[in-house]
Symmetry: C2
Subunit: 337 residues, 2 copies
Amino acid sequence: MTTIYDIAKKTGFSITTVSRALNNYTDVSEKTKKKILEAVDEMGYYPNSIARSLTTKKSWTIGVIFVEDLGVGMKHPFFSAVIESFKQNVEALGYDIIFLSQNIGGEEKSYVDHAIHRGVDGIIVMCSDFDDVEVQKLIESPIPSLVVDLHSDKSSVIYSDNYRGSILAVDHLVELGHRNIAHIKGSEQTYAGLERLRGFRSGMEKHQLDVPSSYIADGGFFSYEGGYEAMQNILALGEKRPSAVFVSGDNMALGALKACKEAGVSVPDDLSIVGFDDIEISKHITPALTTVRQDTDLIGKKASEVLVHQINTRSRDYAVVMIPVSLVVRESTKAVK
Amino acid sequence: MTTIYDIAKKTGFSITTVSRALNNYTDVSEKTKKKILEAVDEMGYYPNSIARSLTTKKSWTIGVIFVEDLGVGMKHPFFSAVIESFKQNVEALGYDIIFLSQNIGGEEKSYVDHAIHRGVDGIIVMCSDFDDVEVQKLIESPIPSLVVDLHSDKSSVIYSDNYRGSILAVDHLVELGHRNIAHIKGSEQTYAGLERLRGFRSGMEKHQLDVPSSYIADGGFFSYEGGYEAMQNILALGEKRPSAVFVSGDNMALGALKACKEAGVSVPDDLSIVGFDDIEISKHITPALTTVRQDTDLIGKKASEVLVHQINTRSRDYAVVMIPVSLVVRESTKAVK
DNA sequence: CTGAAAGCGCTTACAG
DNA sequence: CTGAAAGCGCTTACAG
């Protein structure tokens, strides 16, 4: 591996001067700089970030942590979309992304230890679970951090306007003439599940609509299977079943759709369904899903801005960023018969 | 930040001894070790990997590169599933994953420079594109590397048995009585697209079945839209249209399905469809998709073994690993009328 | 069983 | 405009 010493030797300058030329310091003569850059090119040299980090105390890396109850990690459609956008944005600013686990050198360690170990400049946590103690410790550590999809007053947070999203969904259904609207909620251990449920209740209340307890079904941790089962419970209501269901996540809505198909209930003719997320597949299924769209590109972009700002300023003021959502009307909702 | 010097000062031992205790050297007395570990615990110390890497020349990081024509990055359903599995496997061995782009410090640089810069121990490239010059340079560099989904004799490679997968698909359709079988191919700039096409042709030949040129439609880079359009072309064949279509990727198959629905062609009653990949959604759509399953868990696992072996042995013998595929029969195929 | 010293490849005051 | 020296936080011969 070529080092700065090799370039120094080859050009006859000191490593100090080479370093300065490489870092675009102005106080290096053009001629010197040119000579050095030529040597760099010729020898295929590129400065070692590890050595640089050791002296500058800055690693230009951001740690990414996935904590979700499904255990799907990068296969999570919402989180992976957010991280992809986040990644592109921070890359443009010079940061690389490194995944942080609870595993260092094959041994179980805390996220905090892992972050210290890698010397990351900041951390983004994709977390749907309130109660994760390790995440709490991380958030409370002095390392700049940002949590996606969770509320906390110990750290900066970013999430969609879940509450408002639910209201949009309810408004849409009411506008179509629906009065009996059920909700398949996501786990109340998650902030999103909680907020969407709260929004649903408020929306219904606004229109002076009743929500019998049988109209709230639990879909668990936003899985296809959870939505499928919850919809089966709703369909089992028979005569008393609602004419529309607002589902707290698209994956669950897909499962709900499947349950309807199996039961011979036509969507949207017999039952209208609204989802939440607008994952890739939602526009492609039949019927195409009416859903509340989360803007993953914007979440990733804003997240990068907030976290990098925090890194640069070492500010301890926590930001709370709420990203607007929008209703995408497709084929799964229809005016009530 | 606490360092090894703080621990040394606190315990009265030298940094040498502290280092040894931390690294589980046997030649440290139990008593000393205990005292040191207590101090470590108390002060919340964790060794800095950056300093360690600088002396050991080993970073315990593996670079990940995504190169695909759709530009979806981590949202790519196949690649993200492979990487998730790969990540879990290498983490257990002590490696962390860092994403490598063509961007360092906000400036455009090569993958090779980026890899040198970060001092990664090895690289895994998710690449569907033959012609990427930067990827070629990387593969030919001395850094241990492994390419997923591409063939090369300059580097270790791993991919599904695409050829055999196509044969399985054709066999299945022929068994159901189909004789007129079309293929929606993926781009021939990709290894997977090429191999699946080759397998399709061989399979048809094996059964002495003709493939008129109108029966090969181009779906491009495996996108939903590409499959949708390709299927429209096939349906436009009218009377002469096939009774079954083997599609080179599930996303394209979903698009193809949509085109059928719009055209009033019932799958599987009027037309049978087989996909390739078995992405998450395939089992959930209606009709559930018959498809050739790629074993992403196994690909990730084998990839970790091959790459880590290469890192450890510094071997220049390139491995070629082919992962078996299997046919998953669901609802989108049916005996010919 | 323990420690002093050198070195990994950089950057950054300090001096000229 | 350029260079000698110190230092970042570790590990590893070498010595005792």
